[in-house]
């Protein structure tokens, strides 16, 4: 089920009714939420609920046996069991076809012709998200950062809680399990603020990402016969920068709003990322729950910055390459991650080289613009389906295409550029504040008027119920 669907509206109304029904105990309400979460997941592909159960049960018992283990060897064995089961499922469903394809290519390059049967495996929705969420449970217990959950119901609800289940924010057990231990009940202010956030998220997804930005991106990136020029290539890539932000941040904002209505707090996942100055700043603002997950469970175990410069750069590149692969089973995603790794490494080197440099306001704005432009280069590899089409767009951006043809009409181009400029300007202006702080300084009439316009725009856009881009990850 997706948030921008009519089915979800009915589902959410029922969940709210059950959650606030006076005749259920807190224990029963948690069971209701668990069942609702399974229904939420099954609404897309019922058999894949089994994967959720496997992940839940294996990690629950792995953590239980880890704390009962008398030796470090046994503890490690249970941790490895959890890793093998979770990453095994992820590997089979998400990377099986990719691995097979590469194996066939390598075999062919040494003269071995191997034609395997087609890898016709459907990717379970959100498998990367819940795999990372549930892995953080066993890893935290193994690393003695937290104790195992006291109740299987609380733990199972942490894994499946529908607002974060299929596209994050990637929650840690320590963030959510304690919230299930005591009855949660949002007051009217929380519920209405949650609904306002849900409206904002749906506006970003339905109106901006799907309605106005996606067609501009498709006009260039999905065009196979015509060659884009400089203007079209840049505008389509800027539009994709806006689309991917509105799509994913829209999902996170909706998820936070939905959870808030039920009385639960979820962490920020985006903090005005296009207002970043530099790439370490970008990754503190973009998909925060993934970048911090990769930092805590990959970068730091790989050595982090504790073993000298060389090792730090290796850890950085390794983390970003795997981070790229997490997004999709394709070498284009690996290059996307690799580029970010290179950017981060270069920034780290420059910061060490120019320690005394203190930028003024104009320099900061210039660096933010430079960061935004360089991030856009990486988006080309994220969006293009092949290196060939990425090359076509990059060549277009560099103005090197011979006889390019106009692909984006003036009207959609003007609207897309206006939206992306607005996003960039808002992010730059709000980089040192929060949405809540700005709302608190804004007159209620203006907020109510804005809320009205956003909701009205969502209604008249109607939407086609298209899935969020990150569902595929």
């Amino acid at each position: 089920m997706i948030f921008n669907s009519l089915t979800f509206l009915v589902f959410f109304a029922l969940v709210m009714a059950l959650h606030y029904a006076p005749f259920f105990s807190w224990h029963q309400k948690k069971i209701n939420l668990l069942i609702a979460s399974y229904l939420f997941y099954a609404a897309w592909n019922p058999p894949f609920v089994i994967l959720l159960w496997v992940s839940t049960v294996v990690d629950w018992w792995a953590a239980q046996w880890m704390v009962r283990a008398k030796s470090q060897h046994t503890r490690r064995a249970w941790m490895v069991t959890s890793l093998v089961v979770n990453l095994g499922m992820l590997g089979y469903f998400k990377y099986g076809g990719f691995l097979l394809e590469n194996f066939v290519s390598i075999a062919a390059s040494v003269g071995i012709v191997y034609q395997p049967p087609g890898w016709d495996i459907v990717l379970p929705v959100g498998i990367s998200f819940y795999t990372f969420a549930t892995l953080s449970y066993t890893l935290d217990v193994y690393l003695r950062r937290s104790a195992p959950a006291g109740s299987f119901l609380n733990y199972a609800l942490f894994v499946t809680f529908f607002p974060h289940l299929v596209a994050g924010p990637i929650m840690r057990p320590t963030e959510l399990v304690p919230q299930f231990e005591v009855p949660r009940r949002a007051n009217l202010n929380q519920i209405f603020f949650g609904l306002a956030l849900l409206t904002l998220g749906l506006f970003q997804k339905v109106v901006l990402a799907d309605g106005f930005l996606s067609p501009v991106v498709e006009a260039v990136y999905d065009e196979h016969d015509k060659i884009p020029g400089m203007l079209d290539s840049w505008v389509a890539t800027f539009a994709f920068a806006g689309q991917i932000f509105c799509d994913f941040a829209g999902y996170s904002t909706s998820a936070i709003g939905v959870a808030l209505c039920l009385g639960f707090a979820m962490p920020d996942n985006f903090r005005f990322p296009y207002g970043s100055v530099g790439f370490s700043d970008f990754w503190r603002r973009w998909h925060i729950t993934l970048s911090s997950w990769l930092r805590d469970y990959l970068y730091i175990p790989l050595g982090g910055n504790r073993h000298g410069a060389g090792r730090t750069y290796m850890a950085l590149m390794g983390t970003m390459l795997l981070g790229g692969l997490w997004h999709g089973a394709s070498w284009t995603f690996v290059v996307w991650g690799g580029l970010h790794g290179l950017y981060l490494s270069a920034e780290r080197w420059l910061k060490a080289r120019f320690k005394e440099f203190t930028p003024g306001r104009a320099t900061l704005a210039g660096l933010a613009l430079l960061t935004f432009l360089l991030v856009n280069i990486t988006w080309v590899f994220f969006r293009a389906k092949t290196f060939g089409s990425a090359g076509v767009v990059l060549k277009g951006m560099a103005g090197l295409q011979v006889k390019p043809e106009p692909l984006i009409a003036a009207g959609p181009m003007i609207i897309a550029v206006a939206i992306v400029c607005a996003i960039f300007g808002i992010h730059l202006a709000m980089r040192n504040t929060t949405l809540e702080a700005v709302i608190e300084r804004t007159p209620p009439v203006a907020i109510a008027g804005m809320w009205t316009m956003l909701l009205f725009a969502v209604i008249i856009e109607q939407g086609q119920g298209s899935a969020f881009i990150y569902f595929a990850f």
Partner: protein
């Protein structure tokens, strides 16, 4: 949860807490009168939506009960076609030009409409040929240039590709709720979504790029069973009619080489053979197009080179609009599809011919009387 937002920039995230268990997150609720603001927004949205609905009915001419077609609706029809006695595939012409109720009144059989706008009927024919479950009569409606102009598979190919992914429980419930809403709200029409309607101010500002003005706008009203009928405003509004004609660009294009047509015919023949081998039957239909389009269609592929050779090559029966006496000079408001009333006349004509070509259908003893051009053309 904390009442009131923290001072700017002070809310920490996981980015500020490396290598540790993350605590329960903090969410700040800004100190604002949320209930009053929400209530205001609710009623204001209700008011605006009511005004939008009024505008849709009074000014745009949309009506309740006009169901959008959708990938889920096509997939639903496709699933139903597996056990159907008669299924129709093809492009938008057979979709608009078949009146299912008339078909049923004449034969007692309601066909399952599986045709798709913007497609090449061959792709759908081959899709049915690959489906061992289908044993019925398959009517293949075609526009010559779309059918023979390989590899123009178009939107039907996308529908086929997404077919197995269009039966998720949430998609089905979404479709049911959407249909229920469309029975009561006229503005819920995908052709008048904000993002489709807003960019229409651009009527070709950038030369060479396809502007929203070049798109095909709303042409049809859709009833249950994917019954397409020409939208009445296309028949009466000169601006919309002129735009629709413009969008077809006269069906112009380079001539289709005989070698390409040969390949299409060979693939069609194979598809027909496979359907027949398991007890099914295929009959081709070529609905009419206006002279303004026909002349260009003929330039690209003549009837002799395309249609006639297809029937011979596939050893199949066919009904060409040219051969139906009572279906001549019908009204095609935007040159490519028949008006609602004339679609009934055309259906009447082709079904009466159809029952002569196949024993699978019979004219009912109480079938309504023959229709003619005068039943749909006012003098």
């Amino acid at each position: 949860m904390r009442l009131g937002a923290l001072p700017a920039g002070l809310r920490e995230t996981a980015a500020n807490r490396p290598g540790q268990a993350q605590p329960v997150p903090t969410r700040d609720i800004p100190l604002r009168p949320w209930v009053k603001m929400g209530t205001f927004a609710f009623f204001a949205v209700m008011l605006l939506t009511a005004a939008w609905e009024w505008n849709a009915r009074a000014n745009i001419g949309l009506r309740t009960g006009d169901l959008d077609d959708s990938p889920q609706a096509w997939a639903e029809a496709r699933r139903a076609a597996d056990d159907a006695q008669v299924a129709i595939v093809g492009d938008s012409r057979i979709l608009f030009d078949t009146d299912q109720a008339r078909f049923e009144a004449l034969t007692g059989v309601r066909p399952i409409q599986v045709a798709h706008v913007g497609t090449d009927a061959r792709a759908l024919l081959e899709h049915f040929a690959n489906d061992p479950q289908f044993h019925g009569l398959l009517i293949v409606g075609m526009a010559d240039t779309m059918y023979f102009g390989m590899p123009a598979i178009g939107l039907g190919g996308t529908a086929i590709h997404n077919y197995s992914k269009s039966d998720k429980p949430s998609q089905l419930t979404g479709m049911w709720i959407d249909r229920w809403l469309q029975k009561h709200l006229a503005f819920m029409d995908s052709d008048y979504r904000l993002s489709r309607w807003a960019p229409r101010f651009d009527n070709g500002w950038r030369k060479g790029a396809d502007s929203p003005y070049e798109d095909v706008w709303k042409l049809a009203e859709v009833s249950p069973g994917r019954q397409y009928v020409m939208w009445s405003r296309i028949e009466t509004d000169s601006y919309l009619q002129a735009h629709a004609r413009h969008a077809w660009n006269g069906f112009k294009g380079p001539p289709i080489p005989a070698s390409v047509a040969d390949k299409v015919i060979a693939r069609s023949a194979e598809a027909v053979r496979r359907i027949r081998a398991r007890g099914g039957e295929v009959i081709f239909i070529r609905p009419p197009s206006a002279q303004q389009l026909r002349v260009n269609e003929q330039r690209r592929i003549t009837k002799a080179l395309g249609w006639d050779r297809l029937l011979v090559g596939a050893n199949a029966n066919g009904i060409h609009a040219d051969e139906l006496a009572q279906a001549q000079m019908l009204v095609l408001p935007e040159w490519s599809h028949l008006s609602g009333k004339c679609a009934t006349v055309f259906t009447d004509a082709y079904v009466r011919r159809l029952v002569q070509l196949t024993p699978r259908l019979k004219l009912r003893p109480d079938a309504p009387p023959l229709l003619s051009r005068s039943d749909c053309v006012s003098h």
